[in-house]
Every structure is written in structure tokens, then in C-alpha cells.
């Protein structure tokens, strides 16, 4: 039974793929699957960062806003440049440095989340809810609510190339798929093969016990929020690059899809239990649902209902399978 539960996301994915490919011939085509993976990548990158936060027993509600903010900062730097009024100059950054600055923004907001949780002892839900608002407001402030258009850059300013991050291809696969794959491999390795990964599980399992065996809990927690901020910023940059425009509302409610992917992948919201691979499968379940229902022409309202049912059903299976008493014991299945 336990194995079945562990595999439920994979089973759900296989079932959905079977259903959709039998209902529409357009589903199981190379072009559609590449496109599907490209769409999944956005949520998967967010969810990978979220996985570490959830494994450590926390939650990060600010990822969608961080994505929006990072995209806006990138849009601003490419479109307007950094105006240094006292010096009377405008500094334009090359596309790679814009991307690095965007990622640093995500890391900074993630660090604020981490410090709020660790130093100020604010519950993660509240701390990241606060940064959700602050980062979203900041994204609006960057442009007073307007969109930065046409982020292709200008050759004479030396800042072309930003669109490659989201629209470039390597071996016929779009860049976001490679980013997701690379991040997935690194995350899986970190989670299961490094001392840091073991510490994240330990902190999520039982914080006090982890502290007693000498794990610096605060450092671990700070790190997971920074990682989540990094992943969120990366998602925002990929979106801005794909659209070649940065819109301040980008990423609204993305945190919910990311949490859904993590939970579908079998990671327990109480921490200490779960896996990176599961999260990727969970992200694919949501992506297959999203795109498959669109291909079938299911009405948008039914799409929302069906997504909700699949998420809840997957978790209900988990609850039924874990026996009362021992079911909630953290770390039981590791």
C-alpha cells in the first residue's frame, strides 16, 4: 500500500496521459509534448524551490510575487536602463547581467522571508504572506503599474539577447525545458545525496531533535527560503523573456499551483517527508490537466473544478493509506 501511495502521482500522470491520448489524437504528438513540457517548466521551477521550503516544514506564499518583481526589474533595466541622476548617465546592462540582477532580487526577497522566519520568529505562512504583498506592490511601483514592452534590447546599447532565456532552443528543445531539467537534477542531488539535503529533512521532521544533534536549524531555514526566492525569480525572468514584456501582475496565484505540485508529488505539508522527483511528477500532472483540458475544449469553469478534484483526490488517497496513529508520525517512511 505504501508503495502505491508513493507512486500515486506517477499513477495519476499515467492515467491522465492515457485518458487524454485516447480522447484526442493531438495529445500524444511530439510537438504537443514538447509544448506541454515547456508550459510545465514554469510551475516546475517554482515548485522545486517550494519543495525544499515544504520539506523543512515551512511554506512560501511569496513565490508568485517574487516572479512578478524579478520580471519587472529585468524589464526596467532593459527598457529604461538604470538612471543615475547625479551623474547624468543611464547605465544599460547586458542581458546576462540583467538576469543575474533579477535572480539577486529573488534571493534578496527570499532572504527577507528567511530572516523573518528565523530571527523574528514569524510563522512562515504570515511572513511570506507579507512579502507576497510587499513584492507585488514593489513590482507595481517599478513602472507605476505599466508594462515594459518589447524587451528585445538594442544592439547599440549592447543589451540584446534577453528573449533567448525563454524562447531559445538547444537540440530542438526550448530553453525552459533545459532549465527545468538542470534544476531538477541539481535539486534531486542536493535533497538526497548531500548533508544539506539530509539536514532539511531533519529540520522538517523534528526541529528540536535536529537542533539537539547539532544542526544549525536557522541556517537551514534561511537557505531554503533563499533557494525558493531564486527559483521564483528564475520563473519570472523566463516568463518576461517568453513574452518579451514584463507585466506587474505576472505570477498572481502561481504560489497555489506550485504548492499543489509539491503536495501532489507526495511531499507532506507538515515537513520532513517527500521528494524532488515527486514534485516534478506533480507539476506534470497539473500541466497535463491544464493543456489536455484545453485541447479537449472543456469549458474553463469545468477545468477549474476538475483541477481541484484531482488535487484533493490525490491527497485523500494519501490520508486513507496512512493508518491513524502512525500516519502522521513524521519521517516514518524514510
Amino acid at each position: 500500500v505504501s508503495l502505491l501511495v508513493r507512486l500515486r502521482a506517477v499513477l495519476a500522470l499515467a492515467l491522465l496521459v492515457a485518458v487524454f491520448s485516447s480522447l484526442t489524437p493531438a495529445f500524444l504528438t511530439q510537438g504537443n509534448l514538447v509544448m506541454l513540457a515547456k508550459h510545465v517548466a514554469l510551475n516546475a521551477i517554482l515548485a522545486l524551490g517550494m519543495t525544499f521550503v515544504v520539506l523543512s516544514g515551512g511554506i512560501d506564499l511569496s513565490v508568485g510575487s517574487i516572479a512578478g518583481l524579478a520580471g519587472m526589474v529585468a524589464g526596467w533595466l532593459i527598457h529604461d536602463g538604470l538612471v543615475l541622476r547625479p551623474l547624468g548617465v543611464v547605465v544599460y546592462f547586458s542581458a546576462p547581467s540583467v538576469i543575474v540582477i533579477g535572480l539577486l532580487v529573488g534571493i534578496a526577497v527570499g532572504a527577507v522571508n528567511g530572516l523573518l522566519v528565523v530571527r523574528a520568529r514569524v510563522a512562515p505562512f504570515i511572513a511570506t504572506l507579507g512579502t507576497l504583498y510587499v513584492a507585488r506592490g514593489a513590482a507595481m511601483l517599478v513602472s507605476s503599474g505599466a508594462t515594459f514592452p518589447n524587451l528585445v534590447g538594442r544592439a547599440d546599447l549592447g543589451n540584446t539577447g534577453f528573449p533567448l532565456l525563454g524562447t531559445g532552443t538547444l537540440l530542438k528543445l526550448p530553453a525552459p525545458i533545459w532549465i527545468m531539467a538542470a534544476l531538477g537534477v541539481v535539486s534531486a542531488f542536493v535533497a538526497s545525496r548531500t548533508p544539506f539535503g539530509r539536514r532539511v529533512y531533519a529540520v522538517g521532521d523534528n526541529e528540536r531533535a535536529a537542533a539537539l544533534v547539532g544542526i544549525r536549524v536557522a541556517r537551514v531555514k534561511l537557505a531554503v527560503y533563499v533557494m525558493s526566492g531564486f527559483c521564483a525569480a528564475l520563473t519570472g525572468l523566463v516568463i518576461a523573456s517568453q513574452l518579451q514584456a514584463a507585466h506587474p501582475a505576472t505570477g498572481q496565484t502561481f504560489e497555489l499551483s506550485a504548492i499543489a505540485a509539491v503536495v501532489l508529488g507526495g511531499t507532506s505539508l507538515s515537513g520532513g517527508r517527500g521528494s524532488v522527483g515527486g514534485t516534478l511528477v506533480g507539476a506534470f500532472v497539473i500541466g497535463v490537466l491544464n493543456d489536455g483540458l484545453v485541447l479537449l475544449g472543456v469549458s474553463e469553469f469545468w477545468q477549474i473544478v476538475i483541477k481541484g478534484i484531482v488535487i484533493v483526490a490525490a491527497v485523500v488517497v494519501d490520508q486513507l493509506a496512512s493508518r491513524p496513529g502512525t500516519g502522521t508520525a513524521p519521517g516514518r517512511q524514510r
Binding site: 506517477v10 510537438g31 509534448l33 509544448m35 503599474g145 518589447n150 516568463i239 514584456a245 493543456d291 484545453v294
Partner: protein, 317 residues
């Protein structure tokens, strides 16, 4: 355990990826028109999607009706899906004047023409047609009726739409250009209620706290007009003249009840049908015979003529 999940997950993905190699997408029997709009919980978008859907089916097309939730990234993905499903044309009410250009260009590069309705895009030569209602003309129409209802004098509040939306600015400019000519019509407050009914209700309540001597409210859309009207009724001020914009079924009902005095109807259903007809013409002949940018005039709705209007269209002349 964790490793098992990883390994099995990889196995399924590999199986899926392997399975797809042999397949190719079958060409659809009928030509497909994708209709992409903001979410249908707003009757305006529902009306335009349904009108486009019906028109396309009547012309013998299959349809794919989708909603992008006003999220440009989601819109980008839906355009991908429409192209993957072999759409011959896209009718699109877009998710942002700048953020939509890349998606529409992608469709164009794939040989699929886009016909934009309701909202313009900040690029020309990418979409085949951009058919929108004339917001400026509509705003002047609404403002003139507002002036007439006030008897050319009085104190008024303007509720503006979302500041980032170009239509909010255009409508406000249309209102201002008319009202400026009447020195006895004085502005008490001009606030944004972000197109929202709840916000309009709350902002109106707040304004009334400070000032009950108000003769009129000019709202940038009907949702805000309905919200403001509710606040005015709750405050015991039923005589205040409220004028909206859009011609939503809610506002039409409120006009019939006498709570709102006038609105300006955008013929969204007609615009959607026109877009489908031009798409059909373009697919058959390679040209719409019309310029890319087209604007359709709005219509004034008053208690006298409210019964002649249906859902975003003039039903009886």
C-alpha cells in the same frame, strides 16, 4: 522510497516520450477557429465569446473557446495549444497591450492570422485586424447625457477604472473633454475604483462620509456604477444621477429600475461576429478588405430605449 519514486517517475516519462515518436498530429476534418478571451465570469467576455462561437459555427468552422484569465503567460500557452491543435485563425481579446505582442507574432509566424477584438495591442502589422469599440466616442456620448441629466449644473464624482488600462484613461479623457465646457459642473472627487463593484461601493461610502452634497456620479464602467449606486441608495440618496459605461446586463436592469440613469453600450457581440466574418473572408480570399485598426461606435442606453438592447448588442432598432 524516494529513489523509487524518482526512478518510476522517470520510467513513465521515458515511456511517454518514447511513445510519442511514432505519432503525428492528424489534420482536423473541419477548419478550426480558436476564440480566446478573458474569463467568462464577466458577462461582457462571455457575450463576445459566445457570439464569436455561434458565428464561426454558422460559417462551418469548428471552434475552440478558451480563457486566459487576463494572464499574458497563460495566453501565450493557450496560443501554443491552439496552434498545436491546428487552428486556422485566432479571435483574441488579449491579456495586455504589450504583453500579448509576442504571442500574436508567434501565431503569425506559424501562418495563423489573429483577429483582435475589444482591446488593441501596441503593435501594428502583427494582427490581421484589431476591431475595438470607440471608447472616446462612447465617453463623450455618456458625458453629454450626464450633462443633460444634471441640467448643466451640479457637483459630481468621477470613478476611474484601473489606471494601467488604456481604456480607463481614454474614457476619462472623453468625460473630461465634455465636462470642461460646463463651468457650473464641479468635480468633487476623482478616484480609481479599479473597475471593481466592491471598491466602487467602499470608495463611494468614504466620499459620502466627507460630502453628501453630490448631484452625479460618472463611472468608467458599469460595474463601478452599480457599486456606487448601491452605496448611494444605502445612504438615502436615490436622486443622484449615476451614469456608467459598457451596457452590461446588470446596468441595463438597474436602468430599468431607475437606479442608474444611463450607460453607453459597447456592441461586443457585434464586434466578435465581425471579427469572425473577417477571419472567414481572410481565409478564403487572403484579405479582409479592411484596414487593420477598425473602431465601432458605442450606443447610448437610457430608460426610454433600454428594452431594445440585449446582451451587449442592439436587438431591436
Amino acid at each position: 522510497m524516494r529513489r523509487k519514486v524518482l526512478r518510476s517517475g522517470a520510467a513513465v516519462l521515458l515511456a511517454v516520450l518514447g511513445g510519442m515518436a511514432g505519432c503525428r498530429s492528424a489534420p482536423p476534418a473541419k477548419r478550426l477557429v480558436a476564440i480566446i478571451t478573458p474569463p467568462h465570469d464577466n458577462p461582457f467576455f462571455k457575450a463576445e465569446a459566445e457570439a464569436a462561437d455561434a458565428a464561426a459555427r454558422a460559417l462551418g468552422y469548428e471552434t475552440l473557446v478558451l480563457s486566459h484569465d487576463d494572464d499574458a503567460s497563460r495566453q501565450d500557452q493557450l496560443v501554443d495549444s491552439a496552434l498545436a491543435k491546428g487552428a486556422a485563425a485566432i479571435v483574441l481579446d488579449n491579456a495586455g497591450a504589450d504583453a500579448s505582442v509576442a504571442a500574436v507574432r508567434k501565431a503569425k509566424e506559424a501562418g495563423v492570422p489573429s483577429f483582435l477584438i475589444d482591446r488593441e495591442m501596441n503593435a501594428t502589422g502583427v494582427a490581421t485586424a484589431q476591431i475595438v469599440s470607440n471608447n472616446y466616442q462612447g465617453a463623450t456620448l455618456g458625458a453629454q447625457e450626464f450633462v443633460r441629466l444634471l441640467g448643466e449644473r451640479g457637483r459630481y464624482v468621477e470613478l476611474v477604472g484601473k489606471e494601467s488600462d488604456t481604456n480607463a484613461a481614454i474614457r476619462s479623457k472623453g468625460y473630461g473633454d465634455v465636462l470642461r465646457k460646463y463651468p457650473d459642473i464641479v468635480s468633487v472627487a476623482r478616484v480609481s475604483a479599479n473597475w471593481s463593484q466592491t471598491e466602487a461601493f467602499q470608495k463611494m461610502e468614504t466620499i459620502l462620509q466627507g460630502n453628501r452634497k453630490i448631484d452625479g456620479v460618472l463611472a468608467g464602467n458599469d460595474t463601478m456604477a452599480v457599486g456606487a449606486s448601491a452605496a448611494l441608495l444605502a445612504a438615502g440618496l436615490p436622486k443622484v444621477v449615476v451614469v456608467g459605461f459598457d451596457g452590461s446586463p446588470d446596468a441595463l436592469a438597474a436602468i430599468r429600475r431607475g437606479e442608474i440613469r444611463a450607460t453607453v453600450l459597447q456592441p461586443a457581440a457585434q464586434i466578435a461576429r465581425t471579427a469572425v466574418e473577417q477571419a472567414d473572408l481572410f481565409l478564403r480570399t487572403g484579405s479582409t478588405g479592411r484596414p487593420e485598426k477598425q473602431s465601432v461606435d458605442c450606443l447610448l442606453v437610457t430608460p426610454e430605449n433600454a428594452d431594445r438592447f440585449g446582451i451587449f448588442e442592439l436587438v431591436r432598432k
